[in-house]
């Protein structure tokens, strides 16, 4: 395994005046890992380091060596005084199921028993090989028990591999739950559709007050991610294509010709994305055109395409924005903030009350 390229981590060193433990949010994607190192302050928090590491072999094909590579990277770039770490694994490693339940079934300790019972029904003897967790959504229409599970072997391998980084692993969060947390950083936390654009496609999470209300995961937007599409169409390297999309992308105000070229290259991908978002918005609105449409928040690698949010807003006629930094956060890392780091940032806010 070898790294394709690795962006250097931040250059801002934490001041010695504060000795609060650092928190590291780690997003392990299928082709790339992203980290954000945060420190809590008396008023809010600040991001001291951010970086990403790309690997050639997809994570799901070789989780153990890739984890070792990530651990080595964290040990080198994470900082001299490791603290706690919260990570998410690629969405393809998880399975989800939502089950309507009665209020009595999700009261107190009964919830755990209900979840165990449902998981036994779903997996049978294979439950021994899996690790699961759950959360409950209460609404006017009733209660829903959301179940998520993954292979225990992979989870143990990754956890033990990451423990070699020196960081204390606090939790493996679910990507969809972490994505939903981004909704609370927006102006309208009551309803936001979080769209994560990764190399395998897209994940849709309807966030209500930072909690996942509705999920659509692993939505395919084509065979290849935008960077590879542009690289192939323009006969340029992946790194150059990424720079071109990040710098100029679809923004017609800067370089109109280049924006048109990119739009032409990505037309299929854009149409597919626009269609899936439109479909999801229609579903979550329940077919009622009178209700106010939720805003759309973009995150993930493809969210860095310059002008993508404007393009989608123009075509969907809804508010679309790249996941922004929360007001009480301060980004001090030399690596500029982008939608790429949104999920890692959400991981660093694990367990923090909204």
């Amino acid at each position: 395994m070898s790294t394709l390229f690795a962006r250097n981590a931040a250059a801002v060193r934490p001041s010695r005046a504060w000795h609060r433990p650092l928190k590291l949010g780690l997003e392990i994607g299928d082709h790339e890992a992203r980290m954000v190192v945060c420190r809590e302050r008396s008023a809010g928090w600040e991001v001291l380091r951010a970086g990403r590491l790309a690997y050639s072999t997809p994570f799901v094909e070789a989780p153990q060596p890739t984890t070792a590579l990530i651990a080595q990277w964290l040990r080198r770039e994470g900082g001299a005084k490791p603290g706690s770490l919260v990570a998410t694994l690629p969405s393809v490693l998880f399975e989800y199921e939502s089950v309507p339940v009665s209020s009595e079934e999700v009261t107190g300790q009964q919830t755990g028993k209900t979840a165990q019972h449902l998981m036994t029904e779903l997996l049978g003897e294979e439950l021994e090989q899996a690790n699961f967790d759950y959360w409950v959504n209460q609404s006017a229409h009733g209660a829903k028990l959301h179940l998520a599970w993954s292979s225990r072997t992979v989870l143990v391998q990754v956890a033990e591999g990451l423990s070699q980084s020196g960081w204390r692993i606090t939790a493996f969060d679910l990507p969809v739950v972490a994505l939903a947390r981004l909704g609370q950083f927006t102006d309208r936390p009551e309803a936001q559709l979080i769209v994560e654009l990764n190399s395998n496609g897209a994940n849709f999470v309807l966030s209500g007050q930072g909690e996942p209300r509705y999920l659509r995961t692993q939505i395919s937007l084509g065979n290849r991610p935008p960077v590879e599409i542009v690289a192939a169409r323009r006969q340029i390297s992946a790194a150059t294509a990424e720079t071109a999309l990040t710098r100029w992308g679809l923004d017609r105000s800067g370089a109109p010709a280049l924006a048109e070229l990119h739009e032409a290259c990505l037309s299929d991908w854009l149409e597919r994305l626009s269609y899936e978002i439109h479909r999801t918005l229609q579903f979550v609105q329940g077919g009622s055109p009178a209700s106010v449409a939720p805003g759309v928040v973009l995150c993930g690698g493809a969210a860095d395409i310059n002008g993508l949010a404007d393009w989608l807003a123009q075509h969907l006629t809804v508010a679309v924005a790249v996941a922004a930094l929360p007001a009480h956060g301060n980004w001090l890392s030399a690596e500029p903030y982008r939608g790429t780091y949104a999920l890692a940032l959400a991981n660093s806010q694990y367990g923090v009350a909204p």
């Binding site: 690790n131 699961f132 967790d133 759950y134 959360w135 409950v136 959504n137 998520a148 599970w149 993954s150 225990r152 989870l155 143990v156 956890a159 033990e160 423990s163 204390r168 692993i169 606090t170 939790a171 493996f172 969060d173 679910l174 739950v177 930072g210 909690e211 694990y350 367990g351």
Partner: protein
Amino acid sequence: MKSVNLIPLALRQRWEWQTQGVKWALAWLVTTLFLWITYTIFEQRHAAAKQQLESEQSLVTGVSQATGQIQQLTAQSTQAKNIVENAQLLELTDVPLALLQTLIECCQLQVRGIQIDSIRLDEVAPSTSKGNVVTPARKQLLFDGVAESDPRATSFVNSLQASGQFEVVELLSITGSEDRPERSFSIRCEQKQ
């Protein structure tokens, strides 16, 4: 909403045990180190105090020996003083005996020509000579007697003077009658320095 965590519980418990183990091991190590340092410090101080005590004891031993010597010397000096005082007493008693012995010898020289009736031992009052030198008190013999004749009395006085034991031999009085040769006399002999 409760936080979701997919790390297996057994793994989390194992990490917790490891973390607690490391913490307690560190606490044990720090405590042991602290106690060892404290023990070492006290041990060093104890050794230093012991050494100082031995040094002080050696000094006290010297003083004790000196005190013993002083007491011994004091006893010896007391003994010597007693000897000297005894000698002085002996010398004081020897003086009148010597004087009397001289007196008796002088009388014997006169072959029964002198008869001593009374003898009195007395001390001459101390006098101050030139240069404010005080002459210590001396013994003197005052005796009365009868001589068979004037020549015998004169010879007796001369023999007293010739004995060398007296500083002064003074014939205080000599009386008698013309028809008889016997003479009563009174003499004072002052001890020689």
